[in-house]
Subunit: 404 residues, 2 copies
């Protein structure tokens, strides 16, 4: 095909971050709109370590159906109601712009070609759907030159994957449950930018993969429908914790932030265990990570580390940069060469470290053994920014997907 014969290809490319909740989202009050039963709060993780890169492109010459390629593999958009809902909402907003300004190209009528890739292996067990849907929504919104704010776009991303709405912003992000039945007020908003508390670090302990037993959407439904303890968490416990952790973030009060984070992870997993049939995401390696954090905090004499677990066995350990040696340095000494991932932009304070920050005899010996044999990889990262517009497109000027 000669380039000159083609209609223009419109492109926009963005990155989007992973986020890890400290007040967990678990339970939907509306499964179509992805409306949650409780508010949640997360830390956006640095894209220097983990990010999704997505290019959205549109052209009159593309074959009639929208396409999405993820990590080199074509995805079946038509059977993904969630993806269709996002694209449909974005097209409506573009259509409104075009209706108001006849000079605009009719992008809303063109097929989309979307290409996306993660810079982290799926095997890492990190929820990639949040970054994925945030990048998709942000990329298409950029392509369509939509004026909506990240907060307004979060309503759309939420329909792709609930936690995706929190990946449209950097720093410390709350997703308000909202009260409206149409979900119009169930939106993400920045509680504080990354620059407010940039010292926050996160160390992911990737636990040797066991197949996840219950996917989160199914797990949530089971918990909402069957756990006798669930309503107490959603209605009473979480609202109090949201207020308290927002205050802790405002005050950069790590011990308070840490305790709420750990307790909410525990309460969330407690409601999973209380479901019928019961749901277990944590295993013996996860439990060893819990003990490790308690042992480190006890040995240091103040709370320097906080664990949290999503719907899987991986531990995410939050700490402040000044305590890198005490927390990450101790983990490094425990794992030694049995885990990969001691590298990257957040590794610098640890690179020269050869002794544990906390003497290993302060830690339960079973914990040491279980972690050493059960953690295959770590990811060292920290709080970071929201989506960034970039020019390294995954679709050529001629509309061809670039598969790396």
């Amino acid at each position: 095909m000669a380039s000159a014969a083609q209609s223009p290809v419109y492109r926009a490319t963005t990155t989007a971050p992973v986020n890890i909740a400290v007040i967990k989202y678990w339970g939907k009050r509306d499964t179509t709109l992805n409306l949650p039963t409780n508010s949640s709060l997360s830390v956006t993780l640095s894209q220097k370590s983990l990010r999704t890169l997505t290019t959205a492109s549109a052209s009159a010459d593309y074959p009639a159906e929208d396409t999405l390629t993820l990590n080199g593999k074509p995805q079946d958009i038509q059977s993904s109601k969630r993806t269709l809902a996002c694209l449909s909402s974005l097209r409506s907003l573009r259509k409104a712009l075009e209706d108001a300004d006849a000079s605009l190209p009719k992008l809303s009528a063109f097929p989309l070609r979307i290409v996306s890739e993660n810079n982290f292996p799926t095997a890492a067990g990190l929820a990639s759907s949040a970054a994925g849907f945030a990048a998709l929504v942000r990329a298409v919104a950029n392509l369509y030159q939509l004026p909506q704010s990240p907060r307004e776009l979060s309503r759309i991303a939420r329909q792709g994957s609930g936690s995706a709405c929190r990946s449209l912003m950097g720093g410390y992000v709350a997703w308000r449950t909202g009260e409206q039945v149409d979900g119009s007020d169930s939106l993400a908003e920045e509680v504080a930018p990354a620059s407010h508390w940039p010292e926050m670090r996160a160390l992911v302990l990737v636990v040797s993969a066991e197949k996840k037993d219950v996917p989160s959407t199914e797990g949530m439904q089971t918990t909402v429908a069957t756990s006798d303890l669930f309503a107490t968490r959603a209605q009473t416990v979480v609202p109090e914790r949201m207020d308290a952790i927002e205050a802790a973030i405002r005050d950069r009060d790590f011990p308070k932030f840490a305790e709420i984070t750990m307790r909410d992870s525990n309460t969330f997993h407690a409601t999973c265990l209380d479901s019928w049939p019961p749901i277990f995401y944590m295993n013996d390696v996860s439990r060893a990570a819990v003990r490790l954090v308690h042992d480190i905090n006890r040995a240091v004499g103040r709370t320097v580390a906080a664990y949290t677990f999503d719907a899987g066995p991986n531990a995410v350990i939050y700490y402040e940069e000044k305590d890198s040696e005490l927390v990450a340095g101790t983990v490094k000494a425990i794992l030694g060469s049995s885990a990969s991932g001691w590298e990257g932009p957040f590794y610098e304070p640890l690179a020269q470290l050869n002794t544990p920050g906390v003497a290993l005899d302060k830690i339960d010996t079973r914990v040491l053994d279980v972690l050493k044999s059960g953690v295959s990889r770590v990811i060292l990262t920290g709080v970071g920014e929201g989506p960034v517009t970039v020019e390294d497109h995954l679709v050529t000027e001629k509309g061809e997907a670039i598969i790396n």
Copy 2:
């Protein structure tokens, strides 16, 4: 010493059973009186498999201090407030009899020599304190010829160890939380005798011992003080379950009994996990036992097995005798010769069995591996009777302890 020169030695000997709760006791509203925050219900296990044997003896010639020997080891009674509380209550009741009838020997004034032994190894990880305190109270009450009913004596045994009050009776036993601050109405009572539903079987999977991290008394206090979900279980969930499981026992409705049993075990462990710091009693082997039971029930197409876990990793699996092959037969096929304990009075229906009741390809392969490597011993038992007066005393006519 010539026998003729001695004062008489009075003796009484009893056995007492272990009980395993299906609605768990967890949380005290009064730590001195051992008053619970919620009612509980247990199945008394057969003494053909597990029992404590205790002789209480009294003599004017004994040295002044009461003594207690357990499994051949002298116990320090004076530092055990709980034992002292039981003995003091029993002496008061005896004293009242003596005051009313001058012809009675003044046993209440004599030192006690109590000798006790369990027929099961402590390593089995079964709560032996319930059987132990029940046997102690029953033996001394027999020695003192007290007229009080088991229900009335349960008030005393409860002060030794909460769950001990349920071991004073056979069959299906409820411990009512009561309302009085003095604990006078916090008593055990028989919901149904063993003969009402004699087909109930219990298979204990003894998980290779890890040191118990948090003793139950301490764990309970932590949960009551810190778990945000605890009050919901104690105040709302358990009262409904007590009604429902008593109806299930009345109707001998195993599937209903089983579901309530499993759910209450899960809810109890959920409140442990929700405690601060969190308490974990179940480990990966326990989780595998949970999965096994769900897989067996799914494969059979009806609920034939129910798991429950106390404050430790051991699984107790309840089933009905008619389903021995489906439940115990499947476990036997999985464990093969890797676990001991396939023997005893309840083994008969399984002795000739060489194939699993449920095809092993219906069970998650990881579950098979984890159980095979993690279960060291089984105990096959069933519902049984309460304490029995016996004549094989552990103290001679001359007052000497018999240490077997």
